[in-house]
């Protein structure tokens, strides 16, 4: 089986959204936690194993009018960080 580029959020991870649209991602199995801004929250909610990283970037640019030019690199780096922490996996190709 080959990995796709479709990230999928670890279902055990808790998204704690706060009043100011920032949030904490919390993995109860490891006690690991990561604070994230509203863009990160929007990315997190799109990691359903159906959207590719490119799809997610495209949707984020549509949602956030003031997204910087570096948004694709920043979003990709964010997803890689989540992957390293075990918060996200990449879906596998089903034949």
């Amino acid at each position: 089986m080959n990995q796709t580029d479709k990230p999928i959020a670890n279902p055990i991870v808790v998204l704690r959204e706060e009043f100011d649209d920032w949030a904490v991602l919390f993995n109860p199995d490891t006690a690991g936690a990561l604070g994230t801004n509203p863009v990160g929250v929007a990315v997190w909610k799109r990691m359903d194993g159906k959207r590719s990283i490119g799809d997610i970037i495209s949707e984020i640019r549509d949602c956030f009018e003031d997204a910087p030019d570096a948004a694709p690199e920043e979003i990709t780096a964010f997803i890689r960080t989540l992957e390293e922490k075990g918060f996200v996996g990449l879906d596998v190709e089903r034949k």
């Binding site: 704690r16 959204e17 936690a33």
Partner: protein, 364 residues
């Protein structure tokens, strides 16, 4: 106002009103405001589902003695299923291999705290009753067999003050624990009824502070405290140092800012009453499964009053008039302020440095 999170991050739950011991300085029993009864398993599991939906991260189960609940494993399963981590506060005696093995398997347990108040039964059992010391050691060993290290808490009182050196040696050298924490018998619950007998006098508190500061140097980073003589000794040293240098006020100094709990944490009594803190168990904010926890957290007037409390300047109080420590003081615990003075919005005399000095204490 103290900025609160959208929902509480942590909960303290008195999961039972039953206990196998009747300790003479227990903070839990003999509170006339509390209805001492247990809720059935289903009520708690329903509530844990609500906690999961709110993104609560950590729950501490206390009581009473949590291991007295026959349904402890199903209750813990409810926390695990709802993506939370948990801690347990225990006297150790009822921890068996089945429960310890389950707790270890979950991988979600932050700590199991066991109270050890003496280096031997003769000291430990003085205030906890016959067999309590053996029970505590049995609990520590049972956890150890399942690969867990107990978090030991030593509560200091008149009958173990002279045993502190032995306790440290016993816990850290003989049992080989990585560390332990300390506090002292506080003017709450059953302890209020036995205060003259068990609580430290000023001279005894002085001795406890000195001994614990010395032991903390002897065993670096292995003895901790967030309240009680060791915490007071460390804080008072900082306050006295700042006062002598006429230093700028501490960031939270000069206000009733000691308690940050209402910004991140809330409590539930064994009967299901939601309260700000187990030390303010008379303030009923609502009931589980009847009232929305999120609604209480965000809009409860008593809870918001506690959040505003930290803006109240100490200079408002006659009690603090002329005190040179005011810029470095946070007014101490609101729970003890209430039980000692009958008022929440005022400084607690319990850990007051000036009061300690006036009673003949000195800062080591």
């Amino acid at each position: 106002m103290l900025k609160a999170m959208r929902t509480p991050r942590n909960l303290d739950i008195d999961i039972t009103a039953r206990c196998n011991l009747r300790c003479r300085y227990c903070y839990f029993f003999n509170n006339t405001a509390v209805d001492y009864r247990d809720l059935p398993t289903g009520e708690w599991l329903q509530f844990f589902d609500e906690l999961g939906s709110l993104g609560v991260m950590n729950v501490t189960l206390a009581g009473g003695e949590p291991f007295i609940r026959e349904d402890l494993i199903p209750l813990l399963e409810g926390l695990v299923r709802n993506r939370m981590r948990y801690s347990l506060l225990s006297n150790g005696a009822l921890i068996d291999d089945e429960k310890a093995a389950y707790i270890a398997r979950t991988g979600r347990c932050e700590s199991v705290q066991i109270s050890v108040d003496g280096s031997c039964a003769a000291v430990h059992d003085t205030c906890r009753g016959p067999g309590a010391f053996e029970g505590a050691l049995r609990g520590i060993r049972t956890l150890s067999r399942q690969g867990m290290t107990a978090s030991v808490r030593v509560t200091i009182h008149r009958y173990n003050l002279d045993d502190l050196e032995n306790i440290a040696r016993f816990l850290l050298e003989e049992l080989g624990l990585p560390g332990f924490s300390t506090n002292s018998a506080g003017y709450l619950g059953t302890c209020r009824l036995n205060a003259d007998d068990v609580m430290l006098t000023a001279a005894e508190r002085q001795a406890a502070v000195s001994t614990l500061l010395r032991l903390a140097e002897k065993y670096p980073n292995r003895i901790s405290a967030s309240a009680g003589p060791l915490a007071e000794g460390l804080t008072w040293r900082r306050m006295e140092g700042a006062r002598r240098q006429n230093a700028a006020a501490f960031p939270n100094g000069g206000r009733l800012s000691a308690c940050g709990c209402p910004s991140s944490k809330i409590s539930v009594r064994a009967d299901g009453a939601i309260v700000p803190c187990c030390m303010l168990a008379h303030i009923e904010l609502g009931r589980i499964n009847r009232d929305s926890l999120a609604e209480i957290w965000q809009n409860s007037p008593p809870l918001n009053r506690l959040r505003i409390r930290q803006a109240i300047p100490l200079t408002e109080f006659e009690y603090c008039a002329g005190c040179s420590y005011v810029p470095y003081c946070t007014g101490n615990c609101p729970g003890l302020a209430y039980t000692i003075t009958g008022e929440i919005d005022r400084p607690s005399p319990d850990a007051c440095l000036r009061h300690f000095l006036e009673e003949g204490g000195t800062i080591p």
